[in-house]
Each structure stands twice: as structure tokens, then as C-alpha cells.
């Protein structure tokens, strides 16, 4: 490609509505242009990136045995009534009536349509399993579209749906997709984690999210750098500490802590570390009434985990706390006799000589010890969010916390849709059975934004070579003026293209600084400068996008050097 025949639309400044770095850089690099809120034109430069992502996704899905088809964007609302999802879906679902007043939706997802196709086409266990996928433009009427293509209204998705005769076979395909997604994100050149996820509202059980790691990510992920363990912070298990409880060295004392109702304030006031504090959270359980949850002072309650232990609950109101403990909130604690139900986080049970509320306004207790000053907690469970440094649940090191952008999601839908839409098959015994289903999504356009969130610096985008709009840019110094430069640049372009390297020659003949800035902004991984001075010595200047310095290479070695860099 030659820049003069392409369309480069870089901007000095990002528009004011661009909030995050990927949005700003995509606008400045001319990858996208806004048409309406959350609705963008993919400019030629951006479309190249999108298509490269799409091609890798398609290749790996095909390799994994999934079969591509293309379902309509417009779907009859009847199917959404049949699945039961129509009424539940909020205003994100774009509904409209056609000219004959029939109800339609612009599909944000295609579970209903594919299940309708399969229930008509697949009748026998012999035709199973099947995995169909598509790469298609979707529309979701977000209330506040933002972050450019990261949370747009119109976006490109790969959505796949698998159908199985048994749960065991669904599990096999689920593992196959876990591996396939891992291959896809690896080939895309992204740092990512597969994260055990809550299944949320889409239904079914068993689900992993694939996150591109970036500081700006919306989700917090607990991961182990010594293994591939990763989970949503809300779901990661906090193991019981392996260090035994230290023996008691202090006696219990009541100390005045006037006006200090927060854990942090009490610790500071008393001059003890936060790790020596036990905080008590008062709750009302749907079954069993009032209870106290005990957590170490520096830990946070995890409500999802807690609900699994104590059932439905809410936080206790002030008057309920006073009624149960005779003390207002801020000074409550577990040293309260046997009448109160106490649930201790695993970490708390290993604490000794700790500080807690005295159940008397203005006072705390220090040097408190289980089994002496209060009973050993009868019920111990994992009630807290993990923190960095916690041991990894797979026993392979310590956990760390990072932020991620969800770009893929795999679900075991089980029979949720197949049952509602009567998607059945005849098994080997001639019996009608409901199919097991999985679904597997990748946010193709979102990946472009996520890749930029992960790879950028003050000069612009740093694209992985696999999805950069071009792999190599040739920047000649004085293309119009110098025949030697022109010949060398043209020759190098021809050589690179012949070698299957996706190169562009910047023949616009602008100022060198302006051309360099454009291509660094756009994020091309490899740059070769062709200049008269270098040519006289038979050399070309090479610079990788992230290199601190350029280097001179013998002109004859540039091709093999780039081949090596790009193909390993």
C-alpha cells in the first residue's frame, strides 16, 4: 500500500467527549469517526485493525470445528416472547414495528434465532454436537454509550452457540472453547486472563470471562502470576491462613475510644496495626434474625460469599443493633455472651490479642482472645474479598489484583433456551431429549479498544503486530526529490509485499517529523527510514515502535530482519 492511495486522517487533538485513552487515540489516529452517540464509522485505517482481529477469530473458530453462518440482525419479537427473555430485557433492546405493524428487535444476541434454526434442522443425536457461530454487527441501546468502541451502541461481535446430546459433551466443547479463546487472544498479541465468572443474568451454570489486562479496566481480577489461576475479585476464594493462631500474651482491657467509630480511626488512636482489629458487621438474616459477621480490620465483606453461608440477609438497622447488643453502631463487638449468632471469617479465627468494640458507646476492648474472653467462633467461613498477597486457591503462589477489560465470555447455558423453545433431539434409544447448549462471545470491535488501552505511550498507540493496520511503514526522506531514495523505498515496498509483509510506503512527501508522528500515533510496530545519507553507506534506519533508539541496518538485511521480527 502507498499512503497516497490510502486515507490517513490523524488529528492533533482528541475531541472533548473522548474520556479514555483508547477512545482519544482511536480518534486522533483516524481509526474511527463519530456519527452519533456510541455509533462510529470505522475509517480505512481502523477497519484494517478490525478485520485483522476478525480474521484471527474466524481462523481459530474454524480450526476448533465451529461452523460459520450468518443470522439476520432483525429478529421477530415472537421468538423473544417464546424464550421468555423479551419482557425481561430492558430498554437496551431496540424494538420496532415494521410497516405491517409486526414486532421486531435488532438482535443484541442470537440465542433465540440459533435455537430456532437448530430445532428445525437437527432431529437426531447423529447430527450432534454442532457449534455454529457468526461475526456480525449488533446493536444495544446503551443508556450512556461511552469509551468509544469499548461501550458503543453498534458493535461487531463473534457469537457462537453449541448444541449437545449430553452435559458431558457440552463440558468437552466448553474446554475446547476455553483453549480456542486462549489461542485467539495469544495470537492477537494481548496480555489477558481467563477469569472464573459469575454467570449473571444470561442463565445457566459454568462461565469464564476473558479479560485483556489494562489499568483502566472496569473489572478487578485476582490472579496468580505463578499459575493460570484468575477469578473475578468477588469470586476468588480466600483460603484459611496456614499459620496457626499465636498464643495470647495480653489480658483483655476496656479502653476509652471516644468518637472513634471506624476501624481505621480506632487502630490509629490506639497505635495498633489494622491487622490487629476485628470488625463486626451486624446483619439481619431472613432465617435466624440478628447476627454478627467478623472480619479482620483491613478486609472487606464479600456479600456474594456471605449469602452462600448465611442465606438471604440485609444489614441491620441502628435500632436492631441497639436491641440486640445494647449499644449503638461503632462500638459493637463479639464479646457479647452466647446469645448472639457469630460468623467469623477464616482469617479472624487465627487472630489473638485483637481489638474489637466493647458493646459500650465510646469503648473498645484490647487483648481479646478466642476461647478465653469469648467462645471459639462456632461458624467459620470465607466471608471476605481477597487482597493482594493472599495465597492462590490453587496452592501455587500468592494472588495479585489487576484490572481487566472483558473481551470474551464463555457460558454453559445448559437447557435454558432449548427447553423454552423446545429444541429437542431423538437419542439412541429413540427418546426425545432437550439439547444442552453453550454460548461463546467475543467483542471484536471492543478488542481494538482494549488492545489500545493495554498498549500505548505518550506518542500514541502501540499495536501488537498481529492487529496493527500495517506491520511495517517505510518512511522515505525526500521521496519526490531523490531518485535514489525513491528507488530504494519502492524496491523495499515491493520486497516486503512479496514476502507477505503488510507494509505501507509513506509517499506523501511531508516533513519527516510529521510523518514519524503520524505513524507512531497510529502504532505501526516497525519503521524503516530510507534516507540519502544512509543509502550512501548501504544502510537503512530501523526503529521498533517501543524502541528507545533507532539503529542502522545494512539495506540487504532489512527484509530478513523484519521477517524474523514478525514471524519469529
Amino acid at each position: 500500500m502507498r499512503a497516497s492511495r490510502f486515507f490517513i486522517a490523524t488529528l492533533k487533538e482528541a475531541p472533548a467527549d473522548a474520556e479514555i485513552i483508547s477512545h482519544k487515540l482511536m480518534m486522533r489516529a483516524g481509526l474511527i469517526r463519530r456519527l452519533a452517540g456510541g455509533i462510529y464509522t470505522w475509517m480505512p485505517m481502523g477497519l484494517r485493525v478490525l478485520r485483522k482481529v476478525e480474521a484471527i477469530v474466524r481462523e481459530e473458530m474454524n480450526r476448533a470445528g465451529a461452523i460459520e453462518l450468518l443470522m439476520p440482525a432483525v429478529q421477530p419479537f415472537e421468538l423473544w416472547e417464546e424464550s421468555g427473555r423479551g419482557p425481561k430485557y430492558g430498554p437496551e433492546l431496540l424494538r420496532f414495528k415494521d410497516r405491517h405493524q409486526r414486532d421486531f428487535v435488532i438482535g443484541p444476541t442470537h440465542e433465540e434465532v440459533i435455537t430456532d434454526v437448530v430445532r428445525r434442522e437437527v432431529k437426531s443425536y447423529k447430527q450432534l454436537p454442532r457449534h455454529f457461530y457468526q461475526i456480525q454487527t449488533k446493536f444495544r441501546d446503551e443508556i450512556r454509550p461511552r469509551f468509544g468502541v469499548m461501550r458503543g451502541r453498534e458493535f461487531l461481535m463473534k457469537d457462537g452457540y453449541s448444541f449437545h446430546a449430553s452435559y458431558a459433551d457440552l463440558e468437552r466443547e466448553y474446554r475446547n472453547m476455553h483453549e480456542t479463546y486462549t489461542r485467539i487472544f495469544t495470537r492477537l498479541g494481548l496480555k489477558f486472563r481467563a477469569v472464573a465468572a459469575d454467570t449473571g443474568s444470561i442463565g445457566g451454570t459454568g462461565s469464564h470471562e476473558f479479560h485483556v489486562l489494562a489499568d483502566s479496566g472496569e473489572d478487578a481480577i485476582a490472579y496468580c502470576s505463578a499459575s493460570d489461576y484468575a477469578a473475578n475479585v468477588e469470586l476468588a476464594e480466600a483460603l484459611a491462613p496456614t499459620t496457626p493462631r499465636a498464643v495470647a500474651t495480653q489480658t483483655m482491657q476496656k479502653v476509652a475510644t471516644p468518637g472513634k467509630t471506624k476501624c481505621e480511626d480506632v487502630a490509629a488512636f490506639l497505635g495498633v496495626p489494622l491487622q490487629k482489629m476485628v470488625k463486626a458487621v451486624a446483619v439481619m438474616r431472613a432465617e435466624g434474625g440478628f447476627g454478627l459477621l467478623l472480619l479482620r480490620g483491613d478486609h472487606d465483606l464479600n456479600e456474594v460469599k456471605t449469602q452462600k453461608v448465611i442465606g438471604e440477609f440485609r444489614f441491620a438497622r441502628d435500632e436492631e443493633i441497639v436491641a440486640a447488643l445494647g449499644c449503638k453502631p461503632g462500638y459493637i463487638g463479639p464479646v457479647a455472651g452466647n446469645k448472639i449468632a457469630v460468623f467469623a471469617d477464616r482469617t479472624v479465627t487465627t487472630m489473638s490479642d485483637f481489638v474489637c468494640g466493647a458493646n459500650e458507646a465510646g469503648f473498645h476492648l484490647t487483648g481479646v482472645n478466642f476461647g478465653r474472653d469469648l467462645p471459639e467462633p462456632a461458624q467459620v467461613a470465607d466471608l471476605r474479598n481477597i487482597v493482594a498477597g493472599d495465597p492462590s486457591p490453587d496452592g501455587k503462589g500468592a494472588l495479585d489484583i489487576c484490572r481487566g477489560i472483558e473481551v470474551g465470555h464463555i457460558f454453559q447455558l445448559r437447557t435454558k433456551y432449548a427447553e423454552a423453545l423446545k429444541c429437542q433431539f431423538t437419542d439412541e434409544q429413540g427418546k426425545e431429549q432437550v439439547m444442552e447448549m453453550g454460548c461463546y462471545g467475543i467483542g471484536v470491535s471492543r478488542i481494538v479498544g482494549a488492545a489500545i488501552e493495554q498498549g500505548n505511550d505518550e506518542r500514541g498507540i502501540i499495536f501488537p503486530a498481529a492487529i496493527a493496520p500495517f506491520e511495517v511503514v517505510i518512511v522515505p526522506m525526500g521521496y519526490a526529490k531523490s531518485e535514489a531514495v525513491r528507488k530504494a523505498a519502492d524496491g523495499l515496498l515491493a520486497d516486503l509485499l512479496a514476502a507477505g509483509i503488510d507494509a505501507i510506503l509513506d509517499d506523501r512527501d511531508e516533513r519527516p517529523g510529521s510523518m514519524f508522528a503520524d505513524w507512531e500515533l497510529i502504532g505501526i510496530p516497525h519503521r524503516v527510514v530510507v534516507g540519502e545519507r544512509g543509502l550512501k553507506e548501504g544502510k537503512l534506519e530501523y526503529k521498533g515502535r517501543s524502541d528507545a533508539e533507532a539503529q542502522m541496518l545494512p539495506a540487504g538485511e532489512v527484509l530478513s530482519f523484519l521477517k524474523q521480527s514478525l514471524c519469529g
Copy 2:
């Protein structure tokens, strides 16, 4: 590919709502499945065809210098108000309000959006010309969607838009696109014609339609097989006959033709050929009042041409005819004195001894001659539709008439949109100018239907190799049972794939007749049968989709034979 890993969904019967052959065959071959009226899922087999069409279109557009981008399907209605097209577009335009009550449309076409992009991005003549295109799913809310993908509501289109600093440059690009479209349809393997077209409602001047030739086509096309002349029948010029008028040999006589009011009936009644009849069509002109149009008995009036000659007109009512000629319709004619304005078609002026109405109920005149029985017609023009055998307007032979399906259209839009949306540039003199625009569409999904209308027989589809879902099918006889067959079939598949031939091996192990029928229905151009008997003699059976008989080929020559067939 192996059939067991693909999805084949052939049907014995087409559904009742499939009216035309391509729709029936696409359903039966499992290329598409209906989701709602005019809305189809492209099944895996059909999607392969669609993608091959798309790839050829993309390659040739790129080669022609057009630059691909991707505009949103959802467009703000404001732009349609700005262009003035919004209010004019009928209910085919799908409009909706988003959750914030803003007006949007699902774009059936993208003139407004691309003009909006270009007016923001292109400021100088130095940035011109530019040609942007996209391949995108469109929605048009047809009142009566039918014919499967030929007139669907959701469909895939290539739409391109070019922007120029001068009309001369638009004309250059228009010719470039004419050539590009010719290359595209040639590569697709279709019989087609570029047809001079009326510009219709999209505006601007200069327009060609590209039609795939098929008997079932909606449009009649006049073409010259000795040249590339082709035009919509309504537009093709009927030249003046070159043979001079024969001398009069009869005298004019009034003959009784009771109850014979139609040209055909009078000719039959009198025993004269229809070519000896002159029919008179009575019209009321907006300027000039009553007039008679004269046509040869076997010719049809062309209203578009006529309007260009006599201005706005309508057909005369019975009472107006009686008032002007003293005779009711059915017996009127040009022998009526000088008081009547007569417009003769070119062919009529070369007739002699002709028959026409006598302007007296129940009578006609025979042996009528111009210059003797009535004046030479004062106004002569091309007023008729051409018929097969007419000379080609380019002087290169005779015209023939065929039917076509419009699959491409190129327009010179000129400044219609650029002016409305103020899409301007600064010229070399620093003056603001409005851009010249062209637009160029190809109905990608429609091409699939059109190709099938053109290529089919009683056994199914006959796809051109370039767009067949697979180029070659290998059908083994007893894949599961015979190791020799399995090895030979697997080996051939590997060889074909390695040679870049898109082959599928039917390893379903069904009855041979059923496998043959499936692949003939689907329209795979080349079939190789691997059987034990043939293998013993070192031979494989080959049959082209349109061949009457199969032939045995030495196994070692099959690859080179197929290479030869597919790559020329």
C-alpha cells in the same frame, strides 16, 4: 473440509412460499433458511457462496483504488433531513426512536453518512479524488418481500461513493467503475450486460445498470450480440429503417370490419400481416391538445420517448376522440384531413399500402399511402419500444431482447448530495467548490440468487466455480467399509487442499444416490467418485456438473485435470 464436520441441510421439497427457481433451490440446497418475511439466515453452505462473491467484489474494488471503510447501519435521521431525502423516502425506510427519543433510521443506503464523513475530513483539492466503499448489511422494509434473497428486507450490499474536484474526474472514475464492474461480473462467472439506464429517483445524471441475464429477470434488456451495446428496452433507440418506402400498388378502399376494434383482429379478419397495419393512439397533450400517434401494428408505444417528443400527455378519453374524429375508438385513423396533429413513428413513414381505421365505426381503410391518401406526416420520431431484430443503435448488428436481474448500478450523482450537505473543498485558486460525486452499488446477496436463476437444471443449482460453496466434491463409495477407498479419498482431499482447491469430502457414508443428489442440488461444479472397482484399475470417476456422462480418469491425473479446469 469434511462433510461430517460441516452442516448439510438439503430438503426434498421447497416450501410453498418459494415462488421462483432460485428461492426454491436455495431453500432445498440448504443455503438459506427463512426467519421472517424477507429475512433469512445464511446457512453455512450459503454463507460460503456469499463470502466468495464478497471477496471478489472486495479484491476488484481495492485493485481499482477504492478504499474500504465501514459506516454504521444506524444513522441519525437529521442527516436525512439535511439532504432532503428523509421526507421523500417512503415506508421502506425503517425509522425508530432510541431510548432518548432521538430519531434514527436503519440505512438502506449511505450517501448522507459518507458525505458527512468527507465534508469533515476532506478540505483541499489535494485530498481529491477519493473513493470509499463498504460491504455491509442493509435493511429496506419492502412492502412485499419475495423471491428469497432477490428482494429481501435484510441484504448485503457493496456501496461505494467517490468524490471529485471536477466533473471530468468523476467521468474518469465512472469509466473506471464501469470497467471494474465488468471485471467483477466476469470473474464471478456470470453472463451479464451493462445497460444504459434511466437515473430514476436517486438523482444526478449518467447511469448504468449491470444485469445478470436470466429468463426470469424482472427487466427487459435490448442488446446487440455483435457488440457490447445494451439498454433497458424502454431506453433503446429504434433507428429509422434504412429500406426506402415501397411504391404504392393498391388504391385506398373502405372495408367493413364489424366488431373488429383491435389491430390483431382486423389483420386476421382481412388476412393481412400485422406489419401492414398502422395503429393510431389518441392522446391529449398538455400543450396543443388532441393528437394522433401512429405506430406499426406490431409495435408498442414507448411513453418515455413519446413524452420527450410531444411533452406531457395523457391518453384521450372516448368522448374526446369522438369530438376530434367523429368516431369512437377502435376504428380511428390518420386519414382525417389536416385538422389533426399527427406524430408518426419512424417505421410508419416507410410503410405503403397499409391498413388503418376509417374514422367510421365498423370500417377500416386498406391500400392507404402517404402523400396520396393523406399528407406525409409532418412530425416523425422514435415513439416505440424496440423489438428483436431491430438494428443496434451502434450500427453493429441487430438487437435482441433478453431479461435481466439488476445486480449492480453506477451513477453520476454530480453535486446533489454535496450541495445539500455543503461538502466543499478549496480548489487550486483557493476558491470553495462543491464536490462532484459518484455512487456505485452491488447487491452482493442478490448476486447469489441471480447466479442461480441463470444456472440451474432439473437436478438443482449449477454454480460458476468462482462462487460455488466448494469447487470439488469427493464422493467415496463405502468410506467406512473400504480402507482402500478411505485412503484414496483422504489422500485426494489432502492433495486438492494443498493445491489451493476448495474441496469437500463427503464422508457421511450415505447411499451413493443420495450423496450425488445432494451435491448436484447444491451445484458443486466438479465431482470425483472414489470406488473400489475404479481404484483397482488406478482410476477415479469424474463428472462436471453440466456433463451428460461421467468419465474415468487415471487417479494420478485427477489433480492436474482439476487444476486445469479451475484455473484455466
